[in-house]
Symmetry: C2
Subunit: 390 residues, 2 copies
């Protein structure tokens, strides 16, 4: 898939730079997007009148076949072995990169914020101008999705829903014995449910290492992945964000379930969170900011006297994270639905995931995601929302 | 698990630096090792008379509970919000890092080669001395494993062997129909075998996204993951390198199988590769270099008139990669068993994976891994080596 690089040309012209340089492995989304190439070890991409790659000999054939690049070079094309006899490995590699850039007629480059310091220092020593791109222009390009990208993300969400369905079914089939959920004669733990979720994802060619299945007090910490037996009458937060094993695109969804009878507080929190989510949906459209969407959620919570980070920067209970984030090749990308979040554009894909947390109560979070359109929000999530699993 | 940082103290003293600074997420092995903390977004670790973390508010509680750190700070402890009103996000964060370092009495830091350029430039502008550690001292510390680390890697290898066993069983049970392998009435493809392998890993709490199951011409490209129907009488290379979902440590093993009758060349290559592997095992012990081990493998291949990169830098057939690499928190880490590879130390864990490749023939690779000891090599791999699956 060729990225749309028209904005990149304008960006480089404005900065008077000859090229955009990335030195990273294929797991790094900007690298993956610009190069169209997936390799486990770092390789070099320069954009200068087209995409050009510098890879190890091992990756050469595959890079020619699979990447976006107009040209692919190898380290051995620039006498790497001779350089290696004269210099340390890092300096030898940097000298190859400098010659590769020279061959492309590039003497000044913009680089991402997380460009490796050793390459930057080395290139600067060799007379190449290296300036950090604080606007993250590739990340901005990536934020607006093509129809093909939306389709990949939609496919990931269908796998996600199958996995959530598997989890909900196991909770439904479970019985309550001695204060825990039991399924097929064995205690139903966070770990077991997580494994079942990830097996279901794998059956559908998606993968995830870090599924959250957090119950009770665990659920009160938004980043706690959860552990131990699942308990009845407590909220169970399940947050699944699988990535296509081939497509490399993410989906992201959270549901909160209770097996048994939820407390009155959990019920209220669930309805309020659902209301906060709908308030966000109502605000989202091209032209509003991520900050506006976040404010809509805070308004709902604060009107119900729930603390938010907006009303109390130091609070450790209530609504203690941001409203959402872009997803694509990265699980957290632009735009941010958060204080100071940027203006939304048609084609952005964003999560909307309000939640409330208190160790004394548990946690509730509901997360859907969808596409920002010119006049609204197209929800990609089709999974129902129902607190109590009977 | 507290890392052994005694060498780090000496390293910093030699360089006259106050601290070692890492700005990376918990997937980056040096960060994971030094901080003992796993977080999906970048956070900051400084080593200066102990480990100190700077994390987002969201990770604060978990960082205090789970990390190695003597102290954990939050961005909000350094007026991040006020800074954010005055500066762009990157600069605001860098100013927090500078104050955090100042609080620790640190004015000069060593950083890894891939330290993010924007943080380095920003800290330098604020008067902090930032120098690249070209020795990769943390990576060197990580290369020598503790007994606890070896045990984690051994556990990963048992999961690996269960998955390899599953793959071999499916090949064994398959029948040959119309020139492909068929199992349970369906064509046995690379994709299907890969899924079965990864499901078996997941059952044992290990994961891998990139299993190689490459047959025929695919197997002739060492980085081709393979696709399509598996064929009889052709070599099938299966390379599995799972990571413990909790432990985060890797194992790595390759076997080559043929269902049916291998060609005479494949048989010869298999025996020769096995011989090359044993030659490497014989050489490995503390004090020899990775280059010595690689040479032992090249000697065996070249004596049999097979091309190697040592005998012909440009060859695209024969032995076209290095002999092996360290494994641990990273799948490829120090030491390298390759030309110029460093001296081996007791406690290093290395793979030994000679192989031969030619698109006209296919590929053969046999990979075990184990621990370097004072006087030899302790193989961790217990899986048998047998080319023909009947």
């Amino acid at each position: 898939m060729q990225p749309d690089t028209s904005d990149l040309d304008g960006f480089l012209a404005d900065r008077n730079d000859d090229g955009y340089l990335i030195d990273a492995d294929g797991e790094i989304p900007d690298q993956r997007y610009l190069s169209g190439f997936d390799a486990p070890d770092p390789f070099v991409t320069v954009y200068a009148d087209g995409v050009h790659l510098l890879v190890s000999s091992l990756e050469y054939g595959r890079a020619k076949r699979e990447s976006n690049a107009e040209t692919v070079s190898r380290y051995s094309d620039f006498d790497y072995r001779t350089k290696r006899e004269q210099y340390e490995q890092t300096e030898a590699k940097t000298r190859v990169i400098a010659e590769f850039l020279e061959q492309q007629g590039v003497t000044s480059v913009s680089v991402p914020e997380r460009f490796p310091l050793s390459s930057a220092d080395g290139l600067r020593d060799l007379g190449v101008s290296v300036a950090v791109d604080t606007e993250s222009v590739i990340t901005q390009l990536r934020a607006v999705k093509t129809d093909e990208e939306i389709e990949r993300i939609r496919t990931a969400q269908r796998a996600n829903e199958a996995a959530m369905g598997r989890a909900e079914t196991l909770i439904r089939e479970a019985t309550i014995e001695s204060g825990t959920l039991v399924h097929d004669g064995e205690v139903l733990t966070s770990e077991r449910l997580r494994r079942e979720i990830e097996m279901e994802l794998l059956r559908n060619d998606h993968a995830l290492d870090e599924t959250i299945v957090a119950c009770g007090a665990d659920a009160a910490d938004p980043h706690d992945r959860g552990s131990g037996p699942l308990e009845p009458h407590q909220s169970i937060i399940i947050d699944i964000f699988p990535r296509g094993k081939e497509s490399k695109y993410f989906a992201d969804m959270t549901r909160t379930f209770v097996k048994g009878t939820p407390s009155e507080t959990i019920r209220e929190w669930y309805d309020l969170t659902h209301k906060a989510q709908r308030a966000a949906f109502d605000v989202i459209e091209a032209g509003v900011t991520g900050g506006d969407v976040h404010d809509a959620v805070c308004d709902v919570y604060e009107a119900a006297d729930e603390p938010t980070l907006r009303s109390d920067e130091g609070t450790e209970t209530g609504f203690i994270h941001s409203t959402g984030h872009g997803i694509g090749l990265d699980i957290h990308e632009r735009p941010r639905l958060a204080p100071g979040g940027e203006q939304l554009e048609a084609g952005h894909i964003v999560t909307v995931e309000p939640g409330l947390y208190d160790p004394a109560v548990g946690g509730v979070r509901i997360e859907d995601f969808g596409v920002v359109t010119e006049d609204g929000f197209e929800n990609i999530t089709e999974y129902p929302k129902q607190l109590v699993v009977e």
